[in-house]
Amino acid sequence: MTQKNVSSSANNNEKESLKPINPILRYFYAIISMFRTNIRDYGMFIALIVIFILFTISSNGIFLTPRNFSNLLDQTAYVAVLAIGMTLVIVTRQIDLSVGFLSAFLGAYVIVAVQVYGENLFLAISVALLITTFVGIIKGYLIANVKVPSFVVTLAGMFIFKGFLMIRTDNTTITTTHPFFQAIGKGYLFRGFTIGGYNIVALGIGVLLIFLLVFTSIMRRRKNQQLGVQNEERQIYLTKQILTIFVLAVLAYNLAAYNGISYLFLITLVVLVIYFIFTTKSTLGRRIYAVGGNPEAAELSGIKVSNTLIIVFISMGILSLIAGLMYATKVQNTSPQHGVSWELYAIAATFIGGASAGGGVGKVVNSVIGAIVIMSIPNGLALTPDSNANIEPIILGSILLLAVIFDIYTRNVRPVDLVGMYYAKKVHGEELKKAKADLSAAKAALHKAKANGEKLIDYEYALTNAQTSISKIKNMIRIAQEEEFMDHKIDNDPYIPDEL
């Protein structure tokens, strides 16, 4: 890169006089640089942390107790599962407004079959699965092949399933008593296995997850090295690992300190892991994102766009069934009142998670975080003394807007390296001072020329010359990278061997 050469040749002779930056300062600069450079990826986590902190304060600490934490995750479960499906829908430039009532209807279908008609549970679930697959095919077909806009198709679906829900529940609330429903909605994985009040399974899974994450991240670093992708610096990598381990440990601890891992949480986690792998690693996932990125090009690349869309809507349907059952078993009943606005929560979660309505962009993990953000609002408000629960939609709407505005503003963030800037400021400080002095001189001269009524063009030249040299120096400082000022390259990865 030409830029580097310019500045490094300029400061070759000054290098000796450069004192290395204080290592602690360097560390913080590096961390902040990493944050600023990747702000898009961290924005949502920051939002989540801020919301958690605010509610923890407002609820006098109740918000973050193991019990509430567990509850919050269980409350989030159905929205999270819907949001995962919705991510793919939105990635492919579509929308699904029908999932709220579809979920509620499917939940009602299964529960009524078992509780009212005494049908076999697995038969009922299988039939529901068939129904929802069929519905997915119809939706997908109408959208992809008949080219009815998805907004219209699913708006119609929304009304239709609302009707089916009312019919299926016969406009009454039906309570769940079947042990399976009780277990799913209220049960925990090996609840009894505790030591000193802590659930062993939760701790165990926590530890396992931590190991898995550390292991995969090491593998990724190794792979990056093979692929020739720059790995992040070791200090930053370790910091991130420690933070992740910390978060996971807090999560595991909180769950273990309460009743352990609820089935609702477990199901969400399993769905998330499956979809994460599916969307990031599988060819089908790749096709879905390609269709979202440019449908015409995808079609001409041999991707069957309409089949892909149908698959996306089937997936949405299956997740709707899961979400519907999760919700009904959690509240232990099915009712015609269920399903209202669920689709909107799912859509909001997806957009808060950074998906783009333009298509091709969206991550399932981020959508789940978006779901947690959304669901912590009613939860946190309920725990806040003297708060008005009615402001929940206002907060939700504002967060959604802020999230999307943030997304737009951070679309063109440039990488920064504060350490490099630190050195560059040292090296170019004098020059900058001089350039600034030149600028004010030029300004003054222009001013005087104006007053005297002279021809201005030469003074204007001088002025922009001065401005240009300032902006050149500033730019040089802004894009400076630490390596330019080092005699040796920073050791990126001391412990990973070079061979495959």
Binding site: M1, G228, V229, Y461
Partner: protein, 509 residues
């Protein structure tokens, strides 16, 4: 000559993108009333320079001065530059396809009554005046969508004239035009220069045009000005030498004469009915392609060549097809590009942004998207392989990019095209259809692409080239079909083909 007034001076312009220095201390000037060309390889920085000039990259996003009419300009948007009389016509035309011709001329600066209501009568009169100026004779109530690119281009110029343009900037205006339309456009520019004293800056990869009408040329390479030449010094070979930094004697690399082979692709009485247009876009086409042969499809813009490619390549536009398509002597029914690919066909589409590439994805993802099987194992992608192949093609086709993870959005037009070609080479086809393969590509890269075509032929591939550039057709093909108004209007062996014969068949169907 040198006492000519400099209407524009751009001084020490530097513009960087993350990881790329697109313009490095560029100095150019343009004299009043001249036609100035900017030429250079793909990714040299030509479009970027014009975007700086026209305020698309606003003041503060670059360093250096723009001096226009002896005043330093700080444009913050296109609007500012238009107010000063600088109008840019980008390669992607900025017309509204569903508005009428006259509405398009004045959209954005409507003629009003009481500054609130559009004065349609006056709008029409004025539009007529400007359309006459550019010599466009069409029904002004027509929607722009129904017009060819050449005419749309003229509407853009009429629009510029209506904005009182002093300096007209055209970024590769002729890339999508056929010879006739290109010539018209060039003549128009000369006329505007003479009659209205309009200065123009034009970017083009067609050096013939430079020879024909340029008063001066600036050659840019790697973001730096290499040289400025005046009228008297302009000559193609010199330009090429400065552009690519070496000499290219024959832009069309030689290939041994075609010796014949079995037919690999044949269309038998192929007709395509487009139900949305309610007419036949292709009528009784009988063409053959033999193994190891390069067949050209010549014809005017909109003659049906792309429609033919679409009909063959899995009937993407869902025409009603009659007749038969034979591959290796067997009839095939290709109902989706997927079927076509599995039969060994590839199609490099003419509109790379719309039909060819996923601009928000990176190079590797784009190259691999049509051949996911090759980089995956049991449905899971091997990213190592993806990176490997991306790297291979970036090197093989010398795609200019800071890394294989660069998003296509951030590549220059020519480099995007190379990615598109890589994608289809990676599919390892037996039959390759290239639709305007060198549109917007610099001479050096053109030469590379022609060399690649010859290599592929050497390996036994068969290739169809659709091109509006006759020299390309004549330089690269073994046999040529002419298509006119959806019908087959002629067939020539390369030895008997001449530009006159081809143009004659293309225009008298």
């Amino acid at each position: 000559m040198s006492e000519n007034k400099k209407i524009l001076v751009m001084r020490s312009i530097t513009k960087t993108f993350p990881g790329v220095k697109a313009l490095d201390n560029v100095n150019i000037h343009v004299d009043e009333g001249e036609i100035h060309f900017i030429v250079g390889e793909n990714g040299a920085g030509k479009s970027t320079l014009m975007k700086v000039l026209s305020g698309i990259y606003s003041h503060g996003n670059y360093s250096g001065d723009i001096v226009f009419n002896d005043e330093i300009q700080h444009f913050n948007s296109i609007k500012n530059s238009v107010n000063k009389g600088i109008v840019i016509i980008n390669q992607e035309l900025a017309l509204f396809p569903d508005l009428s011709v006259y509405e398009n001329v004045f959209v954005g600066h409507e003629i009003t009554k009481n500054s609130a209501f559009v004065n349609w009568v006056e709008t029409k009169n004025q539009a007529k005046k400007y359309l006459d100026m550019v010599g466009l004779k069409v029904d002004m109530d027509q929607n722009v969508r129904t017009l060819g690119v050449g005419k749309q281009q003229l509407i853009e110029i009429a629009k510029a004239l209506s904005q009182d343009v002093k300096l007209l900037i055209l970024d590769e205006p002729t890339a999508a035009l056929n010879e006739n339309d290109s010539e018209n456009l060039l003549n128009l520019l000369v006329e505007l220069k003479k009659k209205k004293d309009i200065t123009s800056i034009m970017i083009s990869h067609k050096l013939k045009e430079v020879e024909a009408i340029a008063d001066s040329v600036t050659i840019i390479r790697d973001g730096k000005v290499i040289i400025r030449m005046d009228r008297s010094e302009i000559n193609q070979n010199e330009i090429i030498k400065h552009m690519v930094g070496r000499e290219i004697d024959n832009i069309f690399p030689k290939r041994p004469k075609y010796k014949g082979g079995e037919v690999v692709l044949e269309s038998v009485h192929l007709s395509s009915f487009d139900s949305s247009l309610n007419r036949y876009v292709l009528n009784d086409i009988n063409i053959t392609l033999k193994k190891g042969e390069v067949v050209g499809l010549a014809g005017l813009m909109g003659a049906g060549r792309t429609e033919l490619a679409h009909s063959i390549f899995g009937n993407v536009k869902k025409y009603k097809l009659t007749g038969a398509l034979m591959i290796n002597g067997k009839q095939v029914h290709l109902n989706h590009p997927h079927d076509a690919i599995s039969k060994g066909l590839s199609y490099v589409s003419e509109d790379r942004k719309k039909d060819g590439l996923i601009l928000i994805d990176d190079i590797g993802q784009n190259i691999c998207v049509s051949s996911l099987k090759k980089i995956s194992n049991r449905g899971f992608i091997n990213f190592f392989k993806q990176a490997f192949f991306a790297d291979k093609y970036v090197k093989d086709l010398s795609i200019k990019t800071p890394s294989i993870y660069q998003k296509l959005n951030n590549l220059s037009g020519g480099n995007q095209q190379k990615v598109q070609i890589s994608k289809w080479l990676f599919a390892e086809p037996k039959i390759l259809i290239l639709d305007e393969p060198t549109r917007g590509i610099d001479v050096g890269a053109k030469y590379e692409i022609y060399t690649i075509i010859n290599d592929l032929i050497d390996k036994g591939m068969s290739i169809i080239i659709i091109s509006s550039e006759l020299p390309e057709i004549l330089g690269m093909c073994d046999r040529i079909y002419v298509i006119a108004e959806g019908k087959q209007a002629g067939e020539f062996d390369i030895d008997e083909a001449t530009p006159e014969k081809i143009m004659h068949s293309a225009t008298t169907a």
